[in-house]
């Protein structure tokens, strides 16, 4: 086994070691626990960067260990260009959230468990993106859910959190079970859980079975993506979760649904079999987009406004994938990344506002702009970003998604409607921004400065958003290489 293959396993093994250390070190202070968490995540971030040179040579790095031989299951991880994009996004978001946690009150008690669970949550996501074995994929997929539910249960806000956590668990688990049915159907048909093997054999499945699997996969993953009407778990879970967890949920976990759709139905089956579903994906995307934006417009709770904006943004992504064109899908992948950055930024801003004012109702907040100019600028960039203002990232991805829509020739009208629907995004974003930073001052005694641990990651993410928007080249290239190597039949 080559050294770099071992290195790949480090992305999962080092966080596991971090978790073990945290579980043993029971009286770690919050800073010590955070240090371990951040160290393991940083390692997980460096590994893919180191592997970039290998990846340029061979397009894929695989680590494989036999596990349950008599069931045809192995511990198989594979890094390719597509998983690289998702992996980096997820790890960066987790890192930002971990640093952000230091400035929050969350996790003061039992800090070691808090950071261990954050690590497990992140491990679930990185494992999901790397897994090349269906059994392993599902284990990481559920780990993601279990870790986030525990975080919500223990550190969530208010007595409502038990009901919310249960709803979140059950609704998303229903989606996971649909995915599980598909995975096991494929596993039974091919006699192995090796996903690379599946990619060569799936074409030979009968057409009706393919259609059935595509439908189930799409619905199952749409639950995780929170596409209307399967989004019902999202607003409450995002509101009740502590802010760092909300950041990971919204910015990173939602995109796992996108990855699943690209990795399974899109990668396994020929595009012409997906064709009948394209229009439905576009319609669902459009409805989600408009519904999320309208709900964000109607909400008063600033955390819920941003939560509903996720429903809306996931709509764009589904729409982009539904176009079934390289451009649309590339746009969708890039939108995942940009949305992660913008969403992390906006939730961080919300977190700081809640931290300094102690309020979440937009009607009780106002006129913060002059007191906190740096925060105001960050929020402005976030708001402009989500509205699709050039040169900030989302402009690029939306451009490609709409271009894909026009390219696909499925329905020009739908694309035009989606384009017009994006106006609602601008409206709720501006209302959010204006309501908080302008208008009359409604607060008497505000602290002079927000906690440094909150401000630093916020500013860093803001800077990152601008850089990503200005230099989209590498990301675009990775996404394109990833998509063309995984999805057959793309021009």
């Amino acid at each position: 086994m080559e050294n770099y293959e071992l290195l790949l396993s480090g992305i999962t093994l080092v966080p596991i070691m971090g978790v073990v250390v945290l579980l043993i070190w029971r009286n770690a202070t919050k800073k010590q626990a955070a240090a371990i968490g951040i160290l393991s995540e940083t390692f997980a971030l460096i590994v893919p960067l180191v592997l970039l040179s290998v990846l340029r040579k061979q397009d894929q790095v695989v680590f494989s260990l036999p596990w349950i031989r008599n069931m045809g299951i192995s511990f198989r991880l594979s890094l390719n260009w597509l998983s690289l994009v998702f992996l980096m996004t997820e790890i960066l978001v987790t890192l930002a959230a971990m640093i952000y946690s230091l400035g929050e009150k969350t996790g003061e008690k039992h800090s070691n468990y808090y950071y261990a669970l954050l690590l497990l949550f992140s491990l679930g996501m990185s494992g999901t993106t790397l897994a090349d074995d269906a059994f392993l994929f599902y284990i990481f997929w559920e780990l993601m859910l279990v870790a986030s539910v525990l975080l919500l249960l223990v550190w969530g806000h208010g007595e409502k959190r038990f009901g919310v956590a249960l709803k979140y668990f059950i609704v998303t688990h229903l989606g996971s079970l649909m995915v599980l049915v598909c995975l096991i159907t494929l596993y039974v048909n091919f006699g192995t859980a090796d996903m690379t093997e599946w990619m060569t054999q799936a074409v030979m499945l009968p057409g009706t079975l393919q259609a059935f699997l595509i439908a189930f996969f799409l619905i199952g993953f749409s639950v995780k993506m929170a596409i209307f009407p399967l989004h019902i778990w999202l607003p409450d879970a995002h509101t009740v979760a502590p802010m760092p967890v909300t950041i990971i949920l919204a910015a990173a976990m939602l995109s796992m649904g996108t990855y699943g759709i690209l990795r399974f139905p899109f990668a396994l089956f020929p595009l012409e079999n997906l064709q009948p579903f394209a229009i439905w994906m576009m319609i669902a995307g459009l409805i989600s987009e408009v519904y999320g934006a309208l709900m964000a417009l109607a909400e008063k709770d600033i955390k819920r406004i941003i939560a509903f904006s996720s429903v809306s943004q996931m709509g764009y992504i589904l729409f982009g994938m539904g176009t079934l064109t390289l451009r649309g899908m590339e746009g969708a992948v890039m939108h995942v990344v940009y949305h992660a950055i913008v969403k992390a930024l906006l939730f961080m801003v919300v977190g700081i506002i809640v931290n300094i004012t102690g309020k979440r109702d937009i009607q009780e907040i106002g006129g913060l702009g002059f007191k906190y100019p740096a925060l105001c600028v960050s929020a402005a960039i976030g708001v402009l970003g989500i509205s699709g203002m050039p040169p900030l990232g989302i402009f690029n991805s939306e451009w490609m998604i709409f271009a894909g829509g026009f390219d696909s020739g499925i329905s020009i009208a739908l694309t035009v409607m989606t384009l017009i629907g994006s106006l609602f995004t601008v409206i709720y974003a501006l209302r959010f921004f204006g309501g908080i930073f302008f208008g009359e001052k409604k607060h008497a005694d505000l602290p002079e400065k927000a906690p440094l641990a909150l401000v630093v990651p916020t500013l860093a993410v803001t800077a990152f958003l601008i850089i990503e928007g200005l230099i989209p080249g590498p990301l675009l290239q990775w996404a394109m290489q990833g998509l063309t190597s995984i999805i057959g039949g793309l021009n």
């Binding site: 284990i139 249960l166 668990f169």
Partner: protein
């Protein structure tokens, strides 16, 4: 009497051990712990003889020379089966852990003298049921287990509720054995013999009626809908150790005797498979739905037992209806996993009962903080039953799913959807219980940590470890199960 005596040595050890344990405890005035240790030694001896005598199953199966007794009409005839040996090994291991646990659990009871011999008799009866090829002896042995089990259930006879539970079990089980007796009558009327060694060459309507009678009888003992009504009352009120043993192993093992008898009596595989699949759906749904509103921990687990019986029936049903070998491996694996998780669940909840004197889930708020080990173990049991990945329950679920989907049949798929629905409903039952253990009392009561004795801690920890180990590395267990299935004669 002739044949290989080795095959009945485990039964002899168990039977003789029962008397020996009782007499020595009585005459020497042994205390509870000493008697428990003595019982464990007997069970260990039985386990060793089981493993030694049946270590090469290939020698033993389909070999006309391996039997004990005589083929003359009416004579004792004991023929071993691979599945029976496997189930007995699981059952004896669980019994050892239950006995160890009882060493502390019965500390406040005075009537421990008869308790351990009854466990041994129950095991001997179960082993005999798997061996006996004479229907009348099968009936007698079933009665033996019924009586032993109901005495154990009503063990705390000063509590009215325990008497009620024992009585209910006795009545219901006797009803089941009566049905078997009726079946024996029809069988005797048709063939003039009591021996049932292989599938009848010419089944007539009488033997088919007999098959139906046995089907009902065993279904009742296994707690199959609509004959499940006794399950919650009995397991909910019996001593936890006994509930663990009966719900985890004993009643589930009936599902593996049932097909042997019914198929031999002329029921076709598709009839049996269809019966199992249809009623599995009812069991799964009713078990998981009724589980939701329960306030008593053990009653909650009793309803989940009904659902698990359904899961087992479902995979067995697929196996018979579609003739799928992987479904049989799935059901045997599931049996193993459920036996471990269910006994763990009951034993852990028994620790709460022992230390906090309550089974009320609401009153057990914060119990997980007072006894962190038990809190963790019970959480593992619950998460395992809910089928969370990396625990044994998930691997079982994966195997059953793959068996069901491998059929490619619409009906199996519909049943699978019901299975899925049941697991989701079950999740809504299991998760709140895990959470409530860790909720602090609102009253701010001082919570003292309890000190656990290792008699209770050891078996519970061991079972939890098994749940995790089987989940992480199921390969050797699967090999074992596949080996048994390869030699399964049904």
């Amino acid at each position: 009497m002739a044949g290989t005596i080795e095959i009945i040595i485990p039964a002899i050890i168990l039977m003789a051990g029962a008397f020996m344990v009782y007499m020595s405890a009585r005459l020497l005035g042994l205390n509870n712990k000493a008697e428990a240790i003595l019982t464990i030694m007997v069970l260990l001896a039985a386990l060793i003889s089981l493993v030694l005598n049946f270590n090469d199953l290939s020698d033993l199966i389909n070999n006309p020379d391996v039997y004990y007794g005589s083929y003359e009409p009416g004579a004792v005839l004991l023929v071993p089966s691979a599945v029976g040996v496997f189930i007995m090994i699981v059952s004896v291991i669980v019994s050892i852990l239950v006995t160890l646990y009882s060493g502390e659990y019965l500390a406040r009871d005075t009537r421990y003298l008869v308790y351990y011999p009854l466990i041994l008799l129950l095991q001997a009866g179960l082993f005999g049921m798997f061996l006996s090829n004479n229907l009348f002896h099968l009936f007698l042995l079933t009665e033996l287990t019924t009586i032993a089990a109901s005495a154990l259930i009503a063990f705390r006879f000063k509590q009215e509720i325990a008497i009620k539970a024992g009585f209910k079990y006795l009545i219901m089980s006797s009803l089941g054995t009566m049905m078997m007796l009726l079946g024996i009558y029809f069988f005797y009327r048709s063939t003039g013999d009591m021996h049932l060694t292989e599938i009848l060459a010419l089944p007539d309507r009488f033997t088919r009626i007999a098959a139906a009678c046995f089907l009902l009888g065993f279904s009742l003992k296994a707690g199959v809908f609509p004959l499940h009504t006794w399950v919650a009352d009995v397991y909910g009120n019996a001593p936890s150790a006994i509930s663990g043993l009966l719900a985890g192993v004993f009643s589930k093992s009936m599902l593996f005797i049932l097909p042997v008898i019914c198929l031999r009596l002329g029921m076709t595989k598709s009839e049996l498979g269809m019966y199992l699949m249809i009623f599995a759906c009812f069991n799964m749904l009713i078990g998981s739905i009724r589980m939701l509103g329960q306030s008593q921990l053990r009653r909650f687990f009793s309803f989940s037992t009904i659902a698990q019986t359904g899961y087992l029936m479902f995979s067995l049903g697929i196996g018979f209806y579609f003739g799928l070998e992987r479904a049989f491996s799935a059901s045997l694996f599931l049996f193993l996993v459920i036996a471990i998780m269910k006994s763990l669940a009951f034993l852990a909840s028994g620790v709460y009962q022992f230390h906090f004197g309550t089974q009320d889930i609401e009153k057990l708020r914060g119990a997980g903080h007072r006894s962190q080990l038990i809190g963790l173990c019970l959480s593992i049991a619950l998460a395992g039953l809910a089928g969370i990945p990396l625990l044994a329950g998930f691997t079982g679920k994966w195997l059953v799913f793959s068996a069901a989907l491998a059929t490619g049949d619409l009906f199996a798929f519909v049943c699978l959807m019901i299975f899925l629905l049941a697991t989701v409903i079950g999740l809504a039952g299991y998760l709140p219980v895990i959470v409530k253990q860790y909720l602090r009392d609102d009253a701010g009561a001082v919570s003292h940590p309890v000190s656990l004795s290792w008699w209770m801690a050891a078996p519970v920890t061991l079972l939890s470890l098994l749940v995790v180990v089987i989940g992480l590395y199921p390969e050797p267990w699967l090999n074992l199960v596949n080996f048994v299935v390869a030699w399964m004669v049904i």
